[in-house]
């Protein structure tokens, strides 16, 4: 398998791969520094091939592009560790190797009894799948919008695919959302945790990416909260973390 993926280097550089192979290879890149280096300099080779084709574009192109970017929002920087050259759309798979995060912090998460929680409610969905009920989804999206558009909303990077986290003290809520998240291991789900200043972790909602996309919201007070963490937990979630966090965002 990894032998096969390795052999996709040449085809990948010239775009001669299927979307699926592209995703496989980019996942491989996150764990293979030799391929990452080859990708970086072989894409300079294809850049020469492209540059040699340069011709004056139609004059209309400039206006079309400038008009469109004027109304196009930009993505925020993400913690993608692999060659940025590998993160292009439409197979826009920013594959992140959880095992290989250089900036990952180690937190020891200590569970607390559910009874002592400040947590009021949490809900997580894989966009478009887990919530079948359209009304319920609309209500969820409205809540998310209220949090993300709150005057004190504060966005932070979250190292799970291309993700970020928005917290609002005024709304007593935090929302995590993102794209390109890898699937958790079989039988596992992601779970959000609030990490307290004494190292204890308060459980939040569980969620599964749907085609890499996910969104989850948690209502909670933030007194004493120093970080947010994501772990993989058995289906249904845990009262206390059973594994090391795969992503940590400090406040």
């Amino acid at each position: 398998m990894s032998e096969d993926v390795h052999a996709l280097l040449g085809p990948y550089i010239v775009g001669a791969v299927s979307d699926e192979e592209c995703a496989d290879f980019e996942a491989h890149l996150a764990t293979c520094s030799s391929c990452t280096e080859d990708v970086a300099n072989l894409l300079e080779v294809t850049a020469v091939l492209g540059e040699a084709e340069a011709v004056a574009p139609p004059l209309s192109l400039r206006a079309r592009v400038m008009d469109e970017i004027a109304v196009t929002a930009q993505v925020t920087p993400t913690a993608t560790p692999i060659a940025a050259t590998a993160t292009v759309a439409p197979a826009d798979a920013t594959v992140t190797a959880l095992a290989d995060h250089p900036r990952r912090r180690r937190f020891t998460l200590i569970g607390v009894a559910a009874a002592s929680l400040l947590v009021l409610a949490g809900v997580g969905i894989g966009i478009g799948s887990a919530v079948q009920d359209r009304q319920q989804q609309l209500a969820f999206e409205k809540d998310v919008m209220m949090v993300t558009s709150a005057p004190d909303a504060h966005a932070m990077d979250l190292e799970l695919g291309s993700a970020h986290l928005v917290m609002s003290e005024r709304m007593d809520a935090v929302v995590v959302m993102g794209d390109d998240a890898p699937m958790p291991h079989d039988g596992m789900e992601y779970q959000l945790w609030l990490v307290m200043d004494d190292g204890k972790a308060m459980p939040g909602p569980t969620f599964m990416p749907d085609d890499g996309s996910f969104m989850a919201m948690m209502h909670a007070g933030f007194d004493g909260v120093v970080a947010f963490a994501i772990t993989e937990e058995p289906h249904g979630g845990s009262e206390a973390p059973t594994s090391d966090p795969i992503a940590v965002t400090e406040i």
């Binding site: 970086a40 040699a52 930009q74 993608t80 050259t85």
Partner: protein
């Protein structure tokens, strides 16, 4: 970098003084053989564009829209389609500029990779693969020379370098790269068109690219 070695790769008919600069563009910008000044500039412009600078993006446009459009045109062939692809690619550059990592490659490579993938995707969605294979069959490297060359000296130098580089490859390496890069063939289609095993097709693509890299010393 060894300029001697670079110049050897250039078409014999093309002579450059001492291999240091090949000339100046209309605006007087000095063009080095590898467009190094331009390239470094493009990296920093893209970083500025990532932070929302429209002015930086306009400079990026002026710098690379010719290559973006030309790459798209070479792959999709239809000027109208190529303009659509170029627009999509350049807007994507703006949208995702924050994902550019200067330590993982040049801005030029990052942008042209986006353009090429967009063009290939368009070709694949526009045409049934089987039809394409039947019609084109073996590669045809002869392409009508394009007029309206932007940044003439640089593009000519690059084109000469590409011709000379491709000529150094084995026939299989060259044909595999031409089918895949310029025509948007998948590696499976390459193996079919050239009647070679799939593993051989993949290996020839890799070998060919690495040979070009070593010839051009484009590694960063």
């Amino acid at each position: 970098m060894s300029s001697d070695r670079h110049l050897r790769a250039v078409d014999d008919s093309y002579h450059a003084p001492d291999g240091v600069t090949l000339g100046t563009s209309g605006t007087g910008e000095v063009i080095t053989p590898r467009g190094l000044v331009r390239a470094a500039n493009l990296d920093s412009l893209l970083t500025q564009a990532a932070r929302g600078s429209g002015a930086a993006f306009e400079q990026i446009y002026d710098n690379i829209s010719g290559a973006v459009y030309g790459t798209a045109l070479r792959v999709v062939r239809d000027p109208q389609l190529a303009e659509d692809v170029a627009q999509e690619a350049l807007v994507e550059v703006w949208r995702t500029a924050a994902r550019f990592r200067p330590d993982a490659g040049s801005a030029r490579a990052w942008i042209l990779t986006i353009a090429h993938r967009r063009a290939v995707d368009r070709v694949r969605s526009e045409q049934a693969h089987t039809t394409r294979l039947r019609h084109h069959g073996k590669p045809d490297d002869k392409q009508a020379p394009t007029d309206n060359v932007v940044d003439t000296m640089f593009a000519e130098w690059e084109a000469a370098r590409v011709r000379a580089g491709l000529a150094e490859l084995t026939e299989l390496q060259r044909e595999a790269i031409i089918l895949a890069y310029y025509k948007g063939y998948t590696h499976r289609e390459v193996s079919e068109a050239l009647d070679i095993p799939l593993g051989t097709a993949k290996a020839r693509l890799r070998d060919g690219l690495m040979k070009l890299r070593d010839m051009w010393e484009v590694a960063r």
